[in-house]
């Protein structure tokens, strides 16, 4: 049984300009005191096409974690625009929050992120070279995609690799205001980012 379960992730300051930092307020519950720290990461998916454009925005250790409910704010700088393919700058992409214990990932929370120009003119005629300062980032906070993995919480050897519960109610459609632009909505186009079973609902 997972020792840590995420109770909630609140997206703070959303929507916000592209360059402002990401801020997530994470509440989690721990059923037994952990011997070691949890490691949280924010991964920004630069391009749906390839994992190589993924940017780890920040990783942070959280601890000590005694039994109980805890919360913290995870703040990470905005992604480096120079690492994002120009064609992928505007539109829908994904930001992931992962947590690992002893190097094993046990939860992955994915959010759709929509980057778009606020200015209607720019929206109509987007510049060839994306103007990141004009972009607004909107995280689809109401629809987190949560995947939980069984990991080995103790130091004993039997490892469980199976994917834990996948809630069927996750199967919700993308809201309309978040129009998939570059075929991101197609199943399996972000290989390895979200497990298959949570993608086929899109």
């Amino acid at each position: 049984m997972a020792k840590v379960s995420v109770l909630n992730v609140a997206v703070l300051e959303n929507p916000s300009p592209f360059h402002s930092p990401f801020r997530f307020e994470i509440s989690f519950e721990c059923s037994e005191a952990l011997a070691d720290d949890l490691e949280w990461k924010i991964i920004y998916v630069g391009s749906a096409e390839s994992e190589e454009f993924d940017q780890i925005l920040d990783s942070v250790l959280v601890g000590p974690v005694p039994a109980g409910r805890h919360m913290f704010v995870f703040q990470a700088d905005a992604p480096n625009p120079s690492l994002i393919p120009e064609t992928d700058a505007v539109g829908v992409t994904v930001v992931l929050i992962t947590c690992t214990y002893h190097g094993q990932e046990f939860i992955r929370v994915g959010y759709y992120v929509n980057n778009e120009y606020l200015n209607p003119e720019l929206r109509e005629n987007p510049p060839m070279k994306p103007d990141f300062s004009q972009l607004q980032r909107n995280i689809l906070a109401s629809n987190p995609r949560v995947t939980r993995f069984h990991i080995n919480w103790d130091n004993n050897t039997d490892r469980l690799e199976a994917i834990e519960t996948q809630d069927p109610s996750l199967g919700c459609s993308l809201p309309l205001n978040c129009t998939p632009i570059k075929g991101l909505g197609l199943p399996g186009c972000i290989p390895g980012l979200l497990p298959e079973n949570s993608m086929d609902c899109i």
């Binding site: 005191a33 942070v60 959280v62 000590p64 805890h70 913290f72 995609r145 834990e164």
Partner: protein
């Protein structure tokens, strides 16, 4: 008979393997297969029982679901008390669940809020022992034990009072054990297995009583479960799966001689309800389910049964009394048990104990009163529940919203050794909580030692920015939450301190290490251990050489700085946001060449303190080892082992605030008036606007004051004491060596000299309390320093040392007594929450609380984080409480003594320690008939012992086991009163 199949009770079509109705009949649990995991669901019973409730959308049907089991759940069982639910599954685990109150409905994160859990059931224990699927679990009568059986061929008996303790593992089956049942009087447990045997075990020694094989000879090993059951009167055992002439039967086994003469015939996917007085089944229901029946549970009133099936559905059978007859009440059942089997220890529990004869009407009265109180509390609690959201949303007096607003600002972030960010999460709730008390803000399990080890073990810098208004984790690692600063640094560090404190100082005497440090450092940063580390790393040799010739000069200069600093702080004391610099105490002792350390005291506004007269002073004492270099330089001819404390140097003027309420401060101006070539020093004292002043002939080095006296130490080892109006009370006292620290509380004056001797005088009564006592015994042998001094109102001096220990001097015994130890593991393991009278009583203030800081409180909290065997827990708690009582006694803090004594007694009562309790009572009571030879004192630290005993009596009365003791004390007290 009514038959109902509530379709809403399902596991989304997955099989349901087990069903159990809660003892109070309001809910039931099902266990079975979930989506990729095992699943336990708790359902509301009323929609099953009443059609109206089923249709009412406001009545929840599903109360809670738990997906924690990794694989299919084979069995769910409520404890007899209804407090716990045990579940066992294919993941080899048994989980014990308990309802968590105060935490409101919650959803599974990411599940779109569809599956709100109305009740929160939390796994409180995971029992790991079986090496195969757990097939059945069973609670013993009175919930003393929990038994589980598994396909690993064993039955495990767990101690249900102290999970996860295993009392016995019953081996003997040679096949998968698939069913368990307890004898209703707790004498036996029966198990049935695929090895075609039914075994009965004794609970007395956990050995096999009998093994029954004959009826099962023809059985195949195909059933999923073999749930057998014991009749409520204990006479018969009904097995699930037997064969009689190739027909499936339910074998009846008699308790008398384990005879197997009877059976119930006629099972094929049917439910048969048998009335024992008839020869035929009462009712046979066919084709109720598509697949086999897995589990059956009777309702409390015995008139209904819930049946679950592999096909994933549940059926409810409702009978009337006409059909089944009148059920027996629990008491009647218990009476039958007692008449049949007699009283045995196994069935003697609290419930029975309460039916024991009450010998004393007074006892009865107390019991009644107690019940009334509990009722009152309950009603108060329910009233509070109305505003439960606000209760739940408050941590440490701050609402959750406030916390969230400031979370980012307040959250403690550090860097690990490899430079990674590390966030200490904010603890918003304890687990297993019925009580939503989070006593500490950060989730570091803080007690002094833990925070201390965290500081020292992490060689990585740990900067903990302290906002004085924030209750921070670091509060506990400070010797006391008083704004005391014990800063220590070598000359280089010190000069940086000077910069940072904006004190005027010439950077003339900078050693090379200063050059490596940034010139502009924020006050906090200056004490960052990263910095200390660096300055430590710089070669010590150059600094040493530069010190030697100018050591004296340097000392002087430092003293100047030292004296300036308190004033600086004083001036800025209006600024409540003033940061308190902290230094790593351990760094202090390590450095060889260590010059003076300073004492800063500051009163902070916005931090209420009960007793402003108990004012700790901080200072550092150098141990011999650290002193060698300096000694050489100063050419001191002190004996090798002599301790030397820092001496305040003369300075032109300084101000000292004695207290803020009433406002009182002392001003000293040295060498102000010249009368015929003689320089005089002036001492001014202002108390609530009333001022007085006096002059002294020599320069004043240090001053101290209380509400009753003002005293000053001058050059030439002179100590003068004045009344609050400025009248000299004593002719000057000649101290044996120069003054190091002076302190006053009430009419007590404490002087700590440079030769590390301590004296305390009562100025009003003009007697000595402590006479030139050496600190040698508490400081000897290690690099310890005194970090804080305290003088209680009873004139007891207390020294807090840098290693977290605190000693007080007991004048009557002439000994140093250890009263507090931050490293004390007892404090961390002690758990006496159950004995706490109420939350606010914990806020007991006094010298002991000040010395121990918040540790006592947080240790109590931290105790929950450790899982210690119960016996060890008991012992440590006792030892800890006894320490506290003794410490409060030594400190002559009557209020605290009473507090801890009552707490201790309450713990003794709760845990049933008779001898110690009796001893306490005996001492408090004393001899009833007066005799001249009696050594008995009627008071202890100013409290009348018999009054204390009267307070204790209701506590003792809470446990019927002590009714004799209660009666004895009560009667003797009555005799005394009548005299």
């Amino acid at each position: 008979m009514k038959l109902l199949k509530p379709t809403w009770v399902n596991h989304n079509g997955k099989p349901i393997f087990s069903v159990d109705i809660h003892p109070d009949g309001t809910k039931f649990a099902t266990g079975g297969q979930g989506q990729d995991s095992g699943k336990v669901v708790i359902w509301n019973m009323s929609p099953v029982l009443q059609e109206d409730d089923e249709k009412d959308e406001n009545i929840p049907k599903m109360l809670c679901q738990m997906d924690n089991h990794l694989a299919c759940v084979n069995c769910v069982r409520w404890s007899n008390s209804g407090m716990y639910l045990a579940s066992g599954g294919d993941d080899k685990l048994i989980m014990v669940w308990k309802r968590a109150t105060y935490i409101g409905p919650s959803t599974v994160f990411g599940s779109s809020g569809k599956l709100a859990n109305v009740e929160q059931w939390r796994c409180v224990s995971i029992l790991r022992s079986h090496s195969g699927d757990v097939m059945d679990v069973a609670w013993s009568p009175h919930d003393a034990w929990l038994a589980s059986c598994s396909v690993d061929n064993t039955v495990v008996i767990w101690n249900a009072v102290k999970f996860p303790e295993i009392l016995a593992t019953l081996r003997g089956h040679s096949g998968l054990v698939k069913g368990l049942t307890w004898d209703p009087v707790g004498k036996y447990i029966a198990s049935q297995a695929d090895d075609r045997s039914l075994k009965v075990w004794r609970t007395l020694d956990w050995q096999l009583e009998t093994s029954i094989t004959k009826p099962f000879d023809e059985c195949g090993g195909t059933t999923h479960v073999l749930r057998l059951s014991w009749s409520p009167d204990g006479h018969y055992l009904v097995s699930a799966h037997a064969m009689n002439n190739s027909g499936p039967t339910a074998q009846i086994i008699e308790r008398e001689g384990w005879k197997t003469n009877m059976d119930f015939v006629g099972h094929r996917k049917a439910v048969t309800v048998v009335l024992t007085c008839l020869k035929r089944p009462l009712v046979v229901i066919h084709e109720l389910f598509d697949k086999s029946i897995m589990d059956i549970s009777w309702t409390l009133n015995g008139l209904g049964i819930l049946v679950c099936s592999m096909d994933g559905s549940v059926a409810f059978l409702d009978f009337s009394q006409d059909e089944l007859g009148d059920p027996l009440s629990e008491e009647e059942k218990s009476r039958i048990h007692q008449s049949t089997y007699g009283k045995s220890l196994a069935i003697m529990t609290e419930a029975q104990l309460s039916t024991a004869v009450i010998e004393n009407p007074e006892m009865l009265k107390y019991q009644r009163r107690q019940q009334q109180q509990q009722l009152d509390q309950k009603s108060a609690a329910t009233r509070e529940m109305g505003s439960a959201t606000s209760v739940a949303g408050v941590v440490n007096g701050e609402s959750l919203e406030d916390i969230r607003k400031n979370l980012l600002k307040k959250q403690v972030e550090t860097r690990t050794a490899d430079g990674r960010r590390r966030i200490t999460p904010l603890c918003i709730a304890q687990l297993d909580t019925g009580d939503f008390s989070t006593a500490f803000f950060n989730s570091i399990p803080l007690s002094g030692s833990l925070a201390g080890t965290m500081l020292s073990s992490h060689s990585s810098p740990q900067l903990l920015p302290l906002d004085s208004s924030t209750p921070n984790s670091f509060g506990a690692s400070k010797p006391c939450t008083e704004p005391v600063v014990a800063a220590s640094a070598r000359p280089a560090g010190d000069s940086v301190n000077k910069d940072s404190m904006n004190a005027t100082s010439t950077p003339a005497a900078l050693s090379p290490s200063v050059l490596t440090t940034p010139s502009k450092i924020e006050p906090m940063k200056a004490f960052d251990s990263r910095f200390t580390e660096r300055s430590k790393a710089t070669p010590g040799a150059p600094a040493l050489t530069s010190v030697t010739p100018t050591a004296a000069e340097r000392l002087k200069e430092q003293n100047l700085v030292k004296e300036l600093r308190p004033r600086d702080l004083l001036e800025s004391s209006s600024d409540s946001d003033e940061k308190v610099p902290l230094a790593k105490p351990s760094s202090l002792s390590k450095r060889k060449l260590e010059l003076e350390v300073e004492t800063v005291e500051k009163k902070k506004k916005g931090r209420p303190r009960k007793d402003s007269r108990l004012m700790p002073v901080s200072l550092s004492v150098q141990s011999p080892a650290a002193l060698t270099a300096e000694k050489e330089a100063m050419c001191l001819s002190a004996p090798a082992l002599a301790l030397k404390l820092p001496i305040p140097g003369p300075q032109r003027a300084f101000t000292l605030q004695v207290s803020s309420d009433p406002s009182m401060y002392i001003e000293v101006e040295n060498e102000v008036t010249v009368v015929g070539g003689v320089k005089l020093s002036r001492l001014k004292c202002n108390r609530e606007g009333k001022e007085w002043e006096t002059v002294l002939t020599s320069r004043i080095l240090t001053a101290a004051g209380s509400c009753d006296v003002v005293c000053v130490a001058c050059e030439k080892r002179m100590l003068s004491v004045f009344s609050t109006c400025g009248r000299r009370l004593l002719s000057p006292i000649l101290l044996p060596s120069p003054i190091s620290t002076l302190h006053c509380t009430g009419s007590y004056v404490m002087a700590l000299t440079a030769a590390a001797t301590l004296s305390v005088w009562d100025v009003h009564r003009q007697v000595v309390v402590v006479k030139e006592e050496s600190l040698h015994s508490i400081l000897a042998g290690s690099d310890m320093t005194v970090s804080q001094i305290l003088l209680t109102q009873h004139g007891i001096p207390v020294m807090n040392l840098s290693d977290g220990k605190a000693y007080c001097f007991n004048p009557s015994l002439s000994t140093w007594n250890l009263v507090s130890d931050k490293q004390d593991s007892l404090a961390q393991c002690a758990d006496f929450r159950s004995s706490l009278p109420s939350q606010d009583a914990m806020l007991c203030s006094g010298p002991l609380a000040i010395i121990q800081g918040r540790t006592s409180n947080s240790g109590r909290q931290a105790a929950r984080l450790f899982s210690v065997p119960h016996v060890v827990q008991q012992e440590t708690t006792l030892a800890y409480l006894e320490n506290q009582v003794a410490a409060a006694l030594t400190l002559q803090s009557s209020h605290e003594y009473r507090h801890w004594l009552l707490l201790y007694a309450r713990y003794l009562v709760n845990e049933g320690f008779e001898y110690r309790l009796r001893e306490i009572c005996k001492d408090l009571l004393g001899p009833v008939h007066y005799s001249t030879g009696s050594q008995w004192e009627s008071t202890v630290v100013g409290l009348r012992k018999r009054e204390l005993l009267k307070e204790l009596l209701p506590v003792i009365g809470q446990n019927l086991r002590f009714q004799r003791l209660f009666t004895e004390c009560q009667e003797q007290l009555d005799i005394l009163r009548d005299k």
